[in-house]
Amino acid sequence: MEFVLLIFLPIVAALFVPFLYKTVKNIHTGWFVFIISAALFIYYLRFIEKTLNGNVDTSTLSWIPSLDIAFIAYIDGLSLLFSLLITGIGALVVLYSIFYLDKKREKLNNFYVYLLMFMTAMLGIVQSDHMITLYLFWELTSISSFLLIGYWYTRDRSRFGALKSMMITVFGGLMMLGGLVLLSIMGDTYSIRELIANASSFIGHDYFTLALVLVLLGAFTKSAQFPFYIWLPDAMEAPTPVSAYLHSATMVKAGLYLVARFTPIFASSEVWIWLVTGIGLLTLFWGSFFAVKQTDLKAILAFSTVSQLGLIMSLLGASAVAYHVTGADAAIFKFAAFAAIFHLINHAMFKGSLFMVAGIVDHETGTRDIRKLGGLMSIMPVSFTVAFIGSMSMAGLPPFGGFLSKELFLTSMLALRDFELFNFATWGIIFPIVAWVASVFTFVYSFYFVFKTFAGKRKMQSLPKEPKETSLGMLLSPVVLAAIVVVIFFIPNLIGKMFVKPAVVAMQSGLYNHPDEVTVNVSAWHGWSPELMMTLGIIALGAFLFLTMSKWQKLYDIQPQYFSLNALYDTLMVFGESGMNRLSRFYMTGLIRTYLVYMFAFIAAITTAALFIQDAFAVDMESFSPLNTYGIMTAVILVLAVVMVLFAKTRLAAIIALGGVGYSVALFFVIYKAPDLALTQLVIETVSVALFLLAFHHLPALKRHGESTKFRLGNFIIAAAVGITMTLLALSAHSQKLIPSISQYYKDTVFTEAAGGNIVNVILVDYRGFDTLFEIAVLAIAGIGVYSMIRLRLSRKENSDENK
């Protein structure tokens, strides 16, 4: 079985969704989608056997072999773990959505099409070994996320959020593509595995750091790291199942996946370790700090997600240190990798359940505003329990999974102090401090989320709906997730063996041969270690802050609205519209003269510059033919006629003067032995003048329309520049005849081969008859144009956009 095809199963299934939605009216379309994702989940479970032993499996579907582009599904511990999360949580979310979205009121066909599209995209990202197709799926997640956030597209906030998320994530994706292409050039392959295998050959390449930064831009934008996180809170406009799925458990983890996947390549770089760890910690702190400020349940969760993603990111950064140290020191950084993956699993579970609860509260009370909520504990006991479990896990308290991974996290951060390279000895102390402060805020917002909603006084009058416990169906998924959160606490090492260790081996390839070599043993009790002390501190300070929250929460209002990253984004977007509009207005005047001035100035400037810089200007008097009296006389006449055209006061004078120029040109043709030209020019000039005269009574009088002196001076300068350029060009080109003309051939063959005597005419009808054929076509088309211009007059309206 080519399991690469399974990546496409959801999107192929999506093709049937609209059909099912239309025909099978009484069954919720979600059930079909549920079956797909559940089936995939079960299928992927089978791979655990393989990854347990560190084995991998690949499957290829070729796409553009000539450009070496293919879909290569590659399943190792890391991609399997993600695939399971995607399909497993996917199935639960779909189950939840079946009860959450009303099949009568909502356009379910669209919803599930997007969701299935997204599932394919995610599976593609985590399984792709080929960087180009990885990018393909990467953008597909951005697109499906765009469509899902904009699902209720008549709402302003939805559209705003959809665009924002797309702009930021697609930007990251494009930059990432740049990085991937650079990698492919340096490593001469598109395959990630092969890159990892010969990474040593291009470390230190000129492009190495640039590629690193570009790839990280992709990861950071997708995983909502500082300062790109701003799209995530606005993405909460999506229906809650979407938030639970995309914006907590899967899509945002794609960035983490990418960092994990590329760790073996980039870990050697100092920039990588500093950026990933530093930005991760900053994001952790930032997210947790601002989560407390929020009043919308989903917004709190969004910021908490940002913060948790930062936590995992920093762990991934720390894990790269393992490539720089050996022995006992290395063990602790290998530890970080374990912690990262472990927390990733925990987070997916508890955050998924929390989002679902937030959805339930919204569904049953009609609001997500935490200021209007309170005391729901007794009305919605099951929901409360789930929320409690999730929040406590998030706060890092026992007996929940989050506690374990939090401890591992603190251990890793403490270890960073002792890392000797890259200035860590000096600055490393910052890491545990920031980690600790952030954990305090994490504690605060976790409590804030669950207790402000469920404990305290009931505020019935402020609720739009009479609250009640929700249906069993909707509770099913969050309960399952909450149960897992508890279970993980008790069997962390089993989880570690089954999922985490194989993933760690995949991630830190080169450091291990077999998953069993990852010697991490998680235990709830690990002695009176510094970590535990820190945890106790967190609980103490966190509890204090939570209890006094109403006193200091106002402090957040000090931050002015215009001084934030969101404001920066808004400014950029406004700049993109009205700013560009103003800029464009500045030079797009709508006047053809302005445009011609730009063009002529550029043409004259660049040609003259090139002429002199390239040392191409030359006047070779030898090459010129001797002066000729008639020629000079004609030249004088011509120039006089030109001057008359310039200074003509009436249209008739101008037309006659123009004719004068034409006849002087004809004279030149006579002088320079071009009888055909002379004849033609003569007749054409006559016919042209006749045309002018025929059109005469349609023409306006010759007016200058008050051209100011400045205006005319400007025109004169441009005109003089162009004129001089032409003279210089003509002189230079004539003085540098490098190769004689081909025309001797015509003189030799005109009689013998073409049976003619007038060479010019024979060239026209024979040697270059093709020119003539199409030149008369031009004349014919001009005739058609004149005819239809005069005869067809559709409207005198200024604006007629409906195509007549």
């Binding site: 007749v683 025929l694 073409a754 024979v762 008859g769 076509a777 005819y787």
Partner: protein, 140 residues
């Protein structure tokens, strides 16, 4: 004024025929002396313009009852056809043929397919310029 008009008109008729004949001459001269389809065509046009100046548009249209757009099309077809004739013989497009023929009236004359092509040129030039002049003149 009336007499003047009559004199002018009669004069013009004469001049018209002179120019017209000259234009035909120029057209045939083209292959060996200055001239050819263009100039021939343009001269014919000039002759007709002269008529237009002397008479009014309607009279001229009556005298020359062609749809000049069709003249253009025929001219184009003629030119294209001459050039495309070579397709039938599978020689490169535009390969002309010429030979001496013994014609009943003209005696031995050299006939060249380029001449047919040039006739097409002539027709197009006449057709399109007259179309332009007629439509411009007819526009009020």
């Amino acid at each position: 004024m009336k007499t003047n008009d009559v004199i002018l008109q009669t004069g013009t008729k004469v001049v018209f025929f002179i120019i017209f004949l000259f234009s035909i001459h120029i057209f045939f001269a083209g292959h060996f002396a200055p001239g050819g389809g263009f100039v021939g065509g343009l001269l014919t046009t000039a002759a007709i313009v002269l008529l237009l100046l002397a008479f009014d548009l309607k009279t001229v249209q009556k005298a020359l009852p062609f749809n000049f757009m069709i003249v253009v099309a025929v001219g184009l077809l003629l030119a294209l056809g001459t050039a495309a004739g070579s397709i039938l013989f599978d020689v490169p497009f535009f390969t002309h043929a010429y030979d001496d023929f013994n014609l009943p009236l003209f005696g031995v004359s050299s006939l060249h397919t380029a001449m047919i092509f040039d006739a097409g040129v002539y027709l197009v030039v006449v057709g399109s310029t007259i179309t332009m002049i007629q439509t411009i003149g007819g526009d009020s």
